[in-house]
Each structure stands twice: as structure tokens, then as C-alpha cells.
Point group: C2
Chain length 223, copies 2
């Protein structure tokens, strides 16, 4: 598949490298065409880089790996026409560190990042995923044992199926991929990130190499 990854930070480069590794063609997008990190990444990965708009034009799927606080500006630069009809996978979180650590999860008129993308780019088929774990676990879920989980939120079933396919390419197994429902459910996963930050300090030893799982019991009559 042709995939645009917008954002040259750790998350964007990690995702882009892994998608290349598993056989996709990736253009890494950044604000300006002469981005040094994107240039280095492209050389190391035998891939291309370009502006947000150039990357989005290339992509059949567009991955937003920019910070949620700048996502609106990034996607405007990418161009609504270059997103129309496409699967837009949003892996971002909008974290506000202005009150220190831990950060707050920002909402926009009560909506999360992915919801605002879907509202502002109604022709895009937005799917939220991969925003509830460390970026190493995102792309190498096999590094954490067991049925830890990744969530999908989105209004377009086909777009979620395409996204699930990319997750499988990176090593996620079907029992791990949990469809939470429509795009509004992404607000819940975006709010979860603050708990992730706390849990990471205590449970992950700060390493990020952990994830949540779901343990089920019998719904027996209660005594």
C-alpha cells in the first residue's frame, strides 16, 4: 500500500520504518520539504519524504503521527482534497504540559482530536488507533506477551478493516484488536492516556514496555 506518515517525531519515524519493513511504500511528511530528520529517515529506509501535502497526495492511507495540539494545522497543510475519501489513521494524543507533569488531555469544545478531524474533514474516513501504548509496542506488539489490546474507533467500517489489516501487518493478532465503535469512542482512549502516563511510571518502570489486557470472568449469579 502507499502510505503517508505525517510527523517526523519518534512515533512517526517508528511507524514509518515498521510499515516499510513489512512491505509498504511510505512517504514521511513534514512541515517543510528540507526537514533534516525526514531526510535522514528516508535515506536509511530507502524511502521518500516531502511536505505534508506531498505525502498526503502519495498516500492511499494517511497516518497522523503529529501531536494532537498541532494536528488541525498539519491536516490543513496536508489539504482537504488530499484526504478526501482516504483512510486517515490518527494515532495522536493532545497533551498539555503547561501545568507540569503529568499532563492534561486536551479536548476541543469537548471533542477529542480524532473527532475534530472527522468533523473538519468530513470526506476523510478517520480511524483512531494505537494511541494507548508506547511507540515500540505500537509497531512490535510481539514484544509484550499475551493478549494485550489495541483499540479501533471510527464511523467507517471499511476504513477500520483497512486499519486492522495494517495492524496485523505489524504483528497484532485478531484477539488483540478491539473495535470500540464509532469515532466518538476515541475520546475515551484519548482520556485514557493520562492514566497510561501514571501507570507507566509505576507499572512499566517508565520503560513503556507494557500494555493493558482484558481479563474476563463468568457472569455467574452473584452470591
Amino acid at each position: 500500500m502507499q502510505i503517508a506518515v505525517l510527523g517526523t517525531g519518534e512515533v512517526g519515524r517508528r511507524l514509518a520504518s515498521r510499515l516499510v519493513q513489512v512491505g509498504h511504500r511510505v512517504v514521511l511528511g513534514s512541515r517543510t520539504a528540507d526537514n533534516a530528520e525526514a531526510h535522514t529517515w528516508a535515506g536509511e529506509n530507502h524511502s521518500a519524504h516531502g511536505t505534508f501535502a506531498e505525502a498526503a497526495t502519495f498516500g492511499e492511507v494517511v497516518v497522523n503521527a503529529t501531536g494532537g495540539l498541532v494536528t488541525a494545522a498539519v491536516l490543513e497543510a496536508a489539504g482537504a482534497a488530499n484526504l478526501a475519501g482516504k483512510v486517515v489513521i490518527d494515532v495522536s494524543n493532545a497533551l498539555d504540559f503547561s501545568r507540569g507533569f503529568p499532563p492534561d488531555a486536551v479536548t476541543f469544545d469537548g471533542l477529542g482530536v480524532a473527532e475534530t478531524i472527522q468533523r473538519d474533514f468530513p470526506q476523510a474516513r478517520v480511524v483512531k488507533t494505537l494511541n494507548t501504548m508506547n511507540n515500540k509496542v505500537m509497531v512490535r506488539p510481539d514484544l509484550v506477551p499475551g493478549d494485550h489490546v489495541v483499540f479501533l474507533s471510527g464511523d467507517d467500517a471499511d476504513a477500520k478493516a483497512v486499519t486492522a489489516g495494517l495492524l496485523r501487518d505489524m504483528g497484532w493478532r485478531d484477539p488483540q484488536i478491539q473495535d470500540l465503535g464509532g469515532i466518538s469512542t476515541s475520546r475515551a482512549t484519548e482520556q485514557f492516556v493520562i492514566m497510561w502516563v501514571h501507570m507507566n511510571g509505576v507499572l512499566g518502570g517508565g520503560s513503556g514496555m507494557w500494555n493493558i489486557g482484558v481479563l474476563r470472568g463468568e457472569d455467574t449469579p452473584f452470591v
Copy 2:
């Protein structure tokens, strides 16, 4: 131990019954002394009931099992003097259903319920716990297999130790009891509840008989 459980809803009665079952003396507190559900509960459990203030006076430990939206009024009725120096275990969530289902998690000037309790009753030793799961799982964690988790948040280490003891009495095992840190971390678990609601519909089949666990991987050099 002498324990006050404030709130006669399903959560309060479930907790109160279980605490009696494992050997504690419990007074179930409600707004008025003639509460019919509290009266029935007391008869069935060979225990007493009373007003919020009467219950709080009795309790060495006071459990807030009222809804987070009314907690401030409930604890004011219980009386600051009756909470001073005591372990106050807050299991509540503040859910706003005014925009329909799923609800929003309410904050108060940016603070969660447990944070506002600690702020408004500075002599109480507030611990947040048990607010991230169904009330059956709260009191019978053995009904869900494996190392699913319960969180503790609070500023007072001794109060958290007392709370952990009560959790153990109900069947929680040490690897399941995760101390997240100070009371401010409870805001994260209160925000998690919205994700719980979504997950419960999809993953728990609506039964509530599930919980999250933490799966850990090795922090190996990443390739």
C-alpha cells in the same frame, strides 16, 4: 474494623455486605434515618444503618459509595469532624448523562472527586480505589481470573496500607493492588471510567465481569 459505608445504592450495599461477610462491623449511611433500602439491608446483614453523620461517627474507616455528583453534599452531611483523621475511601465516579450515553466524566475546577474531597476535608486521609471496575468485581475479584488490577491513589501512605488491607480481606492479592501515587492520580482513574463504559459494551458483553490487567514485556534494545 468499624466501617461506615455511605450510600445505599448497588455499590454501597454490595461493599457493605462483603465487608460484613469478611468480618467487619458496618453501618450503612443514608441521607435520612428511615431509608427503606438501608433498613432492609441492615436486617438481612444483621447490621445497623443510620444517617450519613451517624455512620461516619461509627466508622474508623469511612467509605464513600455515593455518586460523585452528590459526594460533596453527602460528606458535608457526614460532618468534617466525623471524618477528621480517618481513612476516607472514595470509590465514586462523577458521571454526567445529560448528553446521553455514554456519559462524560465530570471534573470540578479541573479536579476529580477524590481530589475535591481531600481539598475540602484536609484532615481526612483520602484514598481512591475500586472505581475502575464493576461492583461485583470490586468485592469478589476471584470471579475474574488472573492478575487484573485495582488502583490506589492517596497522599497518606498509612491510609493506603489500611485500604490495601481491606482489599485483601475481599480477596484482592498483592500483585493486583497497584499504588499509582498521590491523590492527584485518582483524576486519571476517574477519567478512565468512560473508557470502561465503552469497553464494557464491546468486551464485557455488558456484564461487567471483566477487568483490565497489565502485561509486561522486556525492555530490550529496539531494532
